[in-house]
Symmetry: C2
Subunit: 242 residues, 2 copies
């Protein structure tokens, strides 16, 4: 069904960590989904996932259920788990949620950011800059990921663990949405906006921060082409095998 195969995942060292294995698998799967190494709507069979990571179906199942909670995977009873294939409506809701939350988060971050935080932002922006210079799908994915990390850094500076978790989910889903519906490399334009946002942060200019953040999110969403696939749920199902 999915042209892109699960085999592309990295194999994990078997015995290494005593930590929760399901969590490790979830993280790797999430990375793969957000990076689009796993195509939307790809089937994630319990046995296959388990085999790839050298664990039983029990563990694989737990990892898949975690991803289902985050909205990155859809589980259908008696049918299995599939990489999420967000509808345009879902995409809109993801961005509506971000527009609702991020200005406030940015404001809090504005008040709390330390010099060390600012430095972390600079490093992060450096990462971003590295990728916008490069071409190719890999660099593009890395760019999307780095761009998301900027927003996550902002949320982590805000110092609210609950909001950070919400943002982690929204960023992950955004990455998926952008990969699905993004039409241009406008995210490079996103980079300069990130720079502006950091400026406002350093200046502790909350109103400007709010303004910039809202505009930034508007630009991100404006770069999506949400109308094409509006009615094509059926056709897409046919698209996958070809």
């Amino acid at each position: 069904m999915a042209t892109m195969n699960i085999e592309h995942l990295k194999i994990i060292r078997t015995g290494g960590s005593v930590e929760d294995r399901a969590q490790t698998i979830r993280d790797h799967l999430r990375d793969a989904i957000v990076d689009r190494r796993l195509a939307p709507a790809a089937k994630l069979s319990e046995s296959e996932v388990g085999a790839l990571f050298n664990v039983s179906r029990t563990i694989a199942r737990a990892a898949l259920q975690m991803l289902a909670f985050e909205g990155l995977v859809r589980i259908e009873r008696n049918r299995g788990a599939f990489v999420a294939n967000p509808s345009p409506e879902e995409a809109r809701q993801v961005f509506a949620s971000r527009r609702l939350m991020e200005p406030g988060i940015a404001a809090v971050a504005c008040e709390r950011a330390t010099a060390r935080d600012i430095e972390a932002f600079r490093v992060q922006l450096g990462e971003e800059a590295r990728f916008i210079g490069q071409r190719g799908p890999a660099a593009r994915r890395a760019e999307i990921k780095a761009s998301g990390d900027f927003h996550l850094l902002l949320a982590s500076v805000a110092g609210n663990a609950i909001l950070l978790r919400f943002m982690e989910e929204l960023i992950a889903r955004s990455s998926l949405v952008i990969a699905l519906y993004g039409k241009s490399g406008a995210s490079s334009c996103g980079h300069s906006e990130h720079v502006d946002i950091l400026d406002a942060l350093e200046a502790r200019d909350v109103p400007r921060m709010n303004n910039l953040m809202i505009r930034h999110l508007d630009h991100l969403e404006a770069d999506l082409d949400l109308r094409l696939k509006e009615g094509l749920g059926l056709k897409e199902a046919l698209n996958l095998p070809g």
Copy 2:
């Protein structure tokens, strides 16, 4: 530690629904936690939960993990699941998150509410009013729950499934926090504020709505006594090794 026992849960009909049993169990457990029929820090053993609902540990475990994702249950490796015992800091973060999100949600709801929605609000407020007249812990719990449902209704009217889910988590955790740290019956005062908010909603008066919502949340949080148990967090930390 937990004087309150898990036995107080209702027993479920065994064969009834073909639907997901883990979800049903999760719902019942969540109700019990939010209603404080299960004391904070109470142990939720997999076998016990499974026995109570006539399912295997597999299902019980899944339900407990769902609750852990929502922050209502804390799972410690090799030790088991416990009802969450939110720290004052967590309580503050819950309310900070609500202050960040709810004004925006209310604004959206303001624009989208239909006549039918308004009617649903009226019914909901009627429910609330019924409980504030009664005395006793049961009525008090019902009141907290009804109060939460008002906010959930608002979120559902806003029409964003993601935000609704976030709010469901925040409301559930709020109920827990209020039950833990609330000092007075000030939630009855909350009822009149709900009435005011509904008025603003009908009038489509977004700025007034924002104002009322922020004040309402401030009042809710002001009714908490977060300092008393402040030092108990430390004692608890020392409690763990001993």
